[in-house]
Amino acid sequence: MLAYTLRRIAQLIPVLLVLSVAVFSFVEALPGSIVDTLVGTEGGDIEEARAILTKEYGLDRPVHERYVLWLGRALQFDFGKSLVTRRPISTELLSRIPATVYLAAVGIVISLLIAVPLGTFAAVRRNSAVDYTAQVTSLAGISIPEFWFAILCVLLFSLYLGWLPSSGYVSPFEDFWGSLQFLILPAAAIGFRQAAFTTRLTRSSMLDELSKEYVDTARALGHSERKVIFKYTLRNAMIPTITISGLQLANLLGGTVVLESIFAWPGIGRAIFEAILQRDYPLIQAGVLVLGCIVVVMNLLVDLTYRLLNPRVTFA
C-alpha cells in the first residue's frame, strides 16, 4: 500500500507538468493583450507607456524563458502579482478558494442528505412508487440547466416568498449564521443537481449489496431487515457514494462559475473567468494550476480511501 501510494504521488508530477504546460499555452494563445488595455488609447505617449509595461511584466522575453521562470516561482508558491490589481495573487487565491470550497462542500453535504435516504429507500422498495419517483426525480434533476433552476429558485424564494437573500456572500468565519442565509440558495442549487447523480449511485450500489450472499445469510440467521440494511449493507454501499462525492467536490471547484455569477459569490471560478476576460495572465495560470493540484490530490485521496475501505481491489 505504501509503495503504491508513493508511486501514485510520483505520477502526479508529470500530470501537473502537463497541466502547467497546457494552461501556459492557452494563456499564451489568448487573443488581445493586457498591455493594450492597461495603457489605453490616448495620451500621446502610448508607445512609451506600452514599452514600459511590457518590460515591467517581462512580456518581452521569449515564451520558454517565461515558462521556466514562472514554474520555478510557482514551485515556491510565489505566483507574483496580478497585472491588473497589482496585488499578490496568493492573497487573491486565499480569499477566493475558501469561498468556493465552502459553497461546494455544503452543496455536496446537501446532496448526500437527500440522496442517501432516497437512494436507500428506492433500492429497498425496488420497483415501488417511491423507487420510480426517486428515479424520475433524479433524472429530471440531472436534466435541468443549473442556471435556470437557480434563477427560478431566486424568483420563488427571494422575490415572491422573501425568505432568503437573492445574492451575496458573508464569510462563515466572520458571521457563521449570517453566512448560512446567503449560502442556502446556491448550495441547494448545487445540492439538488448533485443529489440527482448520487441518488442513482446509492440506489444501484445498495442493490448490488442486497444481492450478495452475506445478506441472505444474515437474514437466515434471523437478523431483522432493519438491522441487515442499516448495519451491513448500507455501510458497504456507502463506499462508492462517498468516494464519488469526493470526486464531485473536486470537480465543483471550477464548476460553480455559473452559480457564482448568478449569486454574486466571490469564488475562485468567477475570479478566473474574469481574469480570462481581462487577460490577467498570472492570475489565470496560478488559479488553474492551484485548482488542478487540488483536483488531482483529491482524486488520489479518493482513490486511496477507496482502496483502504475496499481491500478487494488489488494494488495493480
Binding site: V23, F26, L30, Q135, L139, P145, E146, W148, G254, G292
Partner: protein, 314 residues
C-alpha cells in the same frame, strides 16, 4: 467447434481462433436487440420515443418552422403565443417557435458530432495505450490526467476564448465549439476504453489472436474494440445530455455563438430580463433544454440496463 476454423499453421501447430465478428453485424445485432429490449425497459422506451420526436423535429425543421428564425420585427416584439406565432415572439420580435426548432437542430448536431468525435479520438487512444501498456500507456495516461485536472468549465472557457483569435464565423464557430467539447470529452472515453481493454486483454480470444500472429494494433482495434462498445455507447448517450448543458452554460456566460444564431442557452440568458414581465420567453428554451437532456438521459439509462446484463436483472 464448427464456428472455429483452422486459419493457418503456426510452427506446425493448428491455431484456433474465433472468427472475427464483423463490426457491422455486431452493431446490427445490438440495435435489433435494443429494439427488442426497449419494450421491456420503460425508461428506455420513453426516452426512445422522446428522441424520435426530437430527431424528427431536427430533421424536419425547414418544413416545420413557420418563420425565418433570425428575422426581427420590433413591431411585434414580446407577443404572447398566437396563431401567427405559435410560441410568441422574443425581445427582437423573432418567432420563438422557429428559433427553438433551428436552435435545437444546431444544438443536437453540435452535441452528436462532438460526442462522436470524442469517441473517435478517445477510444482508439485508450484502446491502444491500454493494449500496448508500458511507456505509451504511461505517457498517454498522464496527458489524459493532465486534461482531466482542468477543473469544471475552465477548459472550455479557455478554449472558446482562444478560439476568438482564429477568424472563424458562422458554422466554423460551431466547429470550434465542437472541437473544445470533443477535446474535453476525450479523456473520459480514453480512460473508460483503456480500463475495458485491460480487462479484455486477458481473455482467451485475444490470446488466440496473438498466438496466430495478428498485429497488436489489429487485435486491439478489430477484436477488442467491438467487445467493449456497450459501456462506451451508454456513456456517450448520457454524455450527449451533459454536452448540451455545457453548451447552454457557455452561452449563458456569453461565450456561446454570437447572436442572431438561434441558441437555446443564449436565448434563455437574454430572456432573463423579461422573466417577470414575460415569463414564457424564458420558459420555452428552458423547457426545450430540459426535454432534450431528459430524453438522452432516459434513453441512456434504459440502454445501460439493457446492455449490461448484470444490471438488467434488476
Amino acid at each position: 467447434m464448427s464456428e472455429l476454423k483452422a486459419d493457418k499453421l503456426v510452427d506446425g501447430t493448428l491455431a484456433w481462433r474465433a472468427p472475427p465478428p464483423p463490426l457491422v453485424r455486431r452493431i446490427a445485432t445490438t440495435i435489433s436487440n435494443v429494439w427488442y429490449e426497449l419494450r421491456k425497459s420503460r425508461t428506455a422506451s420513453i426516452g426512445a420515443v422522446m428522441l424520435v420526436l426530437l430527431f424528427g423535429a431536427c430533421i424536419g425543421t425547414p418544413w416545420l418552422a413557420t418563420h425565418d428564425p433570425i428575422k426581427q420585427n420590433y413591431r411585434e416584439r414580446l407577443q404572447p403565443p398566437s396563431e401567427k406565432h405559435l410560441l410568441g415572439t422574443d425581445r427582437m420580435g423573432r418567432d420563438i417557435y422557429s428559433r427553438l426548432l433551428y436552435g435545437g437542430r444546431r444544438l443536437v448536431t453540435i452535441a452528436v458530432v462532438a460526442v462522436t468525435l470524442s469517441l473517435v479520438v478517445g477510444v482508439p487512444f485508450g484502446v491502444l495505450t491500454g493494449y500496448f501498456g508500458g511507456l505509451a500507456d504511461t505517457i498517454g495516461m498522464r496527458i489524459v490526467d493532465g486534461l482531466l485536472a482542468f477543473p469544471g468549465l475552465l477548459l472550455y472557457l479557455l478554449f472558446v476564448t482562444v478560439a476568438q483569435a482564429w477568424k472563424f464565423e458562422g458554422v466554423m464557430l460551431d466547429v470550434v465549439l465542437v472541437g473544445a467539447l470533443a477535446l474535453a470529452g476525450m479523456p473520459e472515453k480514453a480512460r473508460l476504453a483503456r480500463g475495458s481493454v485491460l480487462a479484455e486483454k486477458q481473455k482467451e480470444y485475444v490470446e488466440a489472436s496473438r498466438a496466430v500472429g495478428d498485429s497488436p494494433a489489429r487485435i486491439a482495434l478489430s477484436q477488442i474494440l467491438p467487445n467493449i462498445l456497450s459501456p462506451l455507447i451508454v456513456t456517450a448517450t448520457v454524455r450527449l445530455g451533459f454536452v448540451i448543458l455545457i453548451v447552454a452554460a457557455l452561452s449563458f456566460l456569453g461565450l456561446g455563438t454570437p447572436p442572431p444564431t438561434p441558441d437555446w442557452g443564449s436565448d434563455l440568458s437574454a430572456a432573463r430580463d423579461y422573466m417577470e414581465t414575460h415569463p414564457l420567453i424564458a420558459a420555452f428554451p428552458g423547457l426545450a433544454i430540459c426535454y432534450t437532456v431528459l430524453a438522452f438521459n432516459l434513453f441512456g439509462d434504459g440502454l445501460r440496463d439493457i446492455l449490461d446484463p448484470r444490471l438488467a436483472e434488476r
